[in-house]
């Protein structure tokens, strides 16, 4: 049973709305899966625990005093227990809406003005080395050689826009309120929280977008009605030259297998370049590169910053290199690496 479905049934059981058939299914799943059993035991037990409260006898006395005061007409009510939520659509409400709208219009003008100023951008470009960057909103970018990204200094606040040249892999943090757009060559990519690779080197005859997970929408800049929704393990090939296109339907979508998909994004993992990166962040990337689990036992070490490059080094060599630049100890046990003071 999927964990999601298991939790759904468990929550129905707790609310006493579970059907008999579902209950039977839930019981079976719990018997078969030790982890599910542990979870359901603990959560059900937690549900049974009661908050211990002191009987509100003092309050009762006070309330009777309030009642007798009220019966003498000497009590002033301060609260209203009627549902008044519908009455608030009054002038005050109208003014609130109007002022919010005005604010938006002003902000719209201002942001338009600001975005037209070139100096409001951060520019990152690579020459012969790859680069990894985490943006303010948590979005991760692996930039391949000879590539560049440009994004506004206010990235993430009102809008998320990235201009790309060359090749990059994006792991985008989901934010429904602020969608992310990537402008590359003659297409725009709208992202909803996903990971994907864009290969748009100018030497290539086409832009290639491979989706690893999530959902993205690609739009032709020349014709905004011309768009396509890309699903995981699909690859979009869009010719750069008009002459290479076949009629109107020039979005070519290829389905690629998992092996091929891995190959497309392999360049992100084979070189590990880090610049003043905290060990706790670096460890996450090393876990990916070396397929190990890294535990750091010292809070102080976690915050320590390192710079360098790992390409063909083994995990031992990499850790040894870290040890040279900062005194630390490590143990490697199978796939578990422990780093301590």
């Amino acid at each position: 049973m999927e964990k999601k479905y298991f939790l759904k049934l468990l929550s129905q059981k707790l609310a006493n709305t579970i059907s008999d058939a579902d209950h039977e299914q839930l019981k079976q799943a719990i018997e078969q899966n030790g982890h599910y059993k542990q979870l359901s035991d603990q959560i059900i037990q937690y549900f049974k625990t009661e908050k211990k409260t002191i009987p509100a006898e003092n309050q009762l006395e006070r309330t009777w005093a309030m009642i007798s005061k009220a019966e003498r007409g000497a009590y002033e009510y301060s609260f209203n227990f009627e549902d008044r939520s519908n009455l608030s659509l009054s002038y005050a409400y109208f003014f609130k809406i109007a002022s919010v709208l005005t604010l938006f219009i002003v902000l719209g003008f201002l942001s338009y003005y600001w975005s037209n100023q070139k100096n409001g951008f951060n520019h990152i470009y690579t020459t012969n080395q790859k680069m990894f960057k985490v943006l303010d909103d948590g979005t991760k970018i692996w930039l391949n050689k000879q590539s560049s990204v440009r994004y506004s200094k206010t990235f993430g606040k009102k809008k998320r826009e990235i201009f790309l040249e060359g090749e990059a892999y994006f792991d985008v943090v989901k934010n429904k309120a602020v969608p992310l757009f990537i402008h590359v060559g003659n297409i725009d990519i709208e992202v909803k929280g996903t990971a994907f690779n864009v290969n748009a080197y100018k030497e290539n005859s086409s832009i290639q977008v491979s989706l690893v997970r999530g959902l993205i929408q690609v739009t032709d800049k020349a014709d905004t009605a011309h768009k396509i929704l890309l699903k995981p393990s699909e690859k979009l090939i869009f010719p750069l030259k008009k002459t290479d296109r076949i009629g109107n339907n020039d979005f070519v979508v290829a389905i690629i297998g998992p092996k091929l998909l891995l190959k497309e994004t392999k360049w992100t993992a084979d070189t590990l370049l880090f610049n003043k990166e905290m060990l706790k962040v670096l460890a996450l990337r090393m876990e990916k590169k070396y397929d190990v689990k890294i535990e750091i036992k010292s809070e102080q070490l976690k915050e320590k910053r390192f710079s360098g490059t790992f390409t063909s080094e083994t995990i031992e060599q990499a850790l040894e290199a870290l040890k040279i630049s900062y005194p630390l100890n490590y143990t490697i046990n199978n796939r578990l690496v422990v780093i301590k003071d």
Binding site: L39, I43, E50, E57, I67, E71, Y77, F79, P232
Partner: protein
């Protein structure tokens, strides 16, 4: 929960007939629950207390109108909710948003204990802590069902939302609890990653 010996409908009837002892029973059975409910909207403890007490004052003074009420328990919670929301609406300065957060004394437990056998109380702390991180509405729904023993339908009626929303919010709250537990019970996060990968591979094969 401390059920009154008599069902609440019977208590309401006796109060309507002027029984002050029925009022006392009702008060002691529901005051703390209603106060806790009010405190989820109003962060100033004094104001929440005043709202709850004043509602009971009204119950007694308007006791001869109690007979129209179909579900007394739901009625009490709705009255508290209305008073809280009206108070927030009137209080233009919105003071209650600045008042200190709930106590979060369990955070360090999450980090310290590794491999040691945990005690029930500690585990409860972890779960209580997880509940405090829920969004307000979800927290309110969760407590109505867990602490006050309401059914989804009743919770929906109290909050003026759909039963579906209550069910899905409860599911999300349980999911948060399960995540907190998984982390604590030493369920290896890497295993979870592996599982995800497997699922993902399956997904691709499905597409091919």
């Amino acid at each position: 929960m401390p059920e009154p010996n008599k069902p609440i409908a019977a208590l309401f009837k006796e109060i309507q007939e002027g029984s002050s002892s029925a009022f006392d029973i009702l008060f002691l059975a529901y005051y703390n629950k209603l106060l806790a409910f009010a405190q989820q909207y109003i962060k100033q403890p004094q104001v929440a207390e005043e709202i709850t007490s004043e509602m009971f004052v009204k119950i007694w003074l308007k006791r001869n109108t109690l007979s129209h009420i179909i579900n007394p328990e739901v009625y009490l919670f709705i009255a508290i909710k209305n008073a809280c929301l009206n108070h927030i609406r009137n209080d233009k300065k919105h003071h209650q948003h600045i008042v200190a957060e709930e106590e979060t004394g369990h955070a360090d437990v999450l980090i310290n204990d590794q491999g040691t056998v945990m005690e029930g109380r500690e585990l409860r702390g972890i779960l209580d802590q997880a509940i405090t991180t829920l969004p307000e509405q979800r927290k309110i729904i969760f407590k109505l069902i867990k602490e006050d023993g309401f059914k989804c339908k009743e919770a929906a009626e109290i909050l003026g939302i759909s039963v579906r929303t209550v069910e899905s919010q409860l599911y999300k709250a349980i999911k948060t609890l399960a995540e907190a537990l998984s982390g604590y019970l030493g369920y290896h996060p890497q295993k979870q990653n592996l599982k995800k990968k497997k699922r993902y591979t399956l997904f691709i094969i499905f597409f091919l």
